[in-house]
Symmetry: C2
Subunit: 231 residues, 2 copies
């Protein structure tokens, strides 16, 4: 094992602030007490008293929970638990320039994996209407120029539609988040590589082919990406 994942393996020497501590305790408290969304939570003053910290520190922790969508606060009414947005905070940090290279590569592979796994759900959920729309997208790209930025835009449009066809909004959002990363890494390729299976081919497979045939088509479409993966 290399040294590049050391920060994951042993963790950082992070000295914990009280806000960190309070955040942890609050999360634990909310889960342990098994509050349900909508339930009212204690007032700030009650929490400061119980935790023995200043309102300042408490509010820093609460602010984090608010960001996660775990709590909602209204003046006078107080706080209530709510259903967190599991992808929200991920969206905030999705910037290829900030994320470390190992994770970028991981994300790249994660998307490839999803793409290869899509067939099963796709064949359960696909509709005639969706396939027609996908075909329209694929055909519109046939005649357009092959400049780099155009090519990526088309990739995004086509694959985005496929994710949408799964009817799974979380998956759809997830893939949208991964796109900048994907685009960033692919952009480094100087020579535009054309897969053996085009978008139109994929549409035809989706129309007439089996689940397995579509998946193999997708594999060939992504072949050049897979070839570059390191053992």
């Amino acid at each position: 094992m290399g040294i590049e994942n050391l920060h994951i393996d042993i963790g950082k020497v992070s000295y914990k602030t009280m806000a960190d501590e309070v955040e942890m305790k609050l999360l634990e408290y909310l889960k342990r007490k098994s509050f349900k969304p909508g339930d009212a939570l204690p007032k700030e003053m009650e929490l400061t008293a119980a935790l023995g910290v200043s309102r300042n520190v408490l509010r820093e922790a609460l602010s984090r929970l608010r960001m996660l969508g775990m709590i909602e606060t209204k003046k006078r009414r107080g706080m209530v638990l709510s259903s967190p947005d599991i992808l929200g905070s991920m969206e905030r940090v999705m910037d290829p320039l900030i994320i470390d290279d190992t994770t970028l590569q991981d994300i790249f592979e994660l998307r490839l994996t999803l793409e290869m796994g899509l067939a099963d759900i796709l064949y359960i959920r696909k509709t005639k209407k969706d396939i027609e729309e996908l075909e329209k997208i694929a055909l519109s790209q046939k005649t357009t120029p092959t400049k780099q930025n155009f090519r990526i835009k088309h990739e995004v449009e086509f694959h985005g539609k496929i994710y949408q066809m799964t009817g799974n909004r979380t998956m759809q959002r997830f893939q949208t988040m991964l796109l900048p990363i994907f685009g960033y890494l692919v952009n480094e390729e100087k020579v535009p590589i054309v897969g053996k299976v085009s978008h139109i081919d994929l549409v035809n497979l989706l129309k007439n082919g089996s689940r397995e045939e579509f998946r193999e088509g997708m594999r060939k479409h992504l072949e050049h990406h897979f070839k570059k993966l390191k053992k």
Copy 2:
């Protein structure tokens, strides 16, 4: 389109606090200026002056960025940008009792999709040693009782090992996060359903079979989950 995703479609009527605003501006600032990890950031006082807010509000926003791992702060030295932990905040909120049902289902499907997409990377990265370890796990489960909690524990162990074999730590962490959700939904099944393809079968496929054969094996292993998916 149903009403169940309305909160995603139109967003909540959330009245924005200044901390929300400042958080947004800081994120935008950090990305726009294309700081790199390690770069020093302005002092709190400079930021309060520039933003025209109290130190209190600023610190609530900074506290959020700290939670995301985007910034690190040290006394006297100030703040530096750092590589965020993209899954960290997701881990915090992964509680099946809090997350709404639609998202829970989405997550369930997301995991199935990953599972089906794993074959490609797995066949690039698998080693003899890993397969032996996986076999050991599979065999140890053959003789054990079939009680619900044991079954789930075995599932976790086996599939966890497979994810580990991808060499993709993000994927591995991601799946670990998804487990409680998966366990929660599967736990509702009263009758233990045994797939046509067992863990041992999967190991043998991984040893002697092709990528496609392994994937079809995985599909059969997960068949009863797929059968329950709604159109």
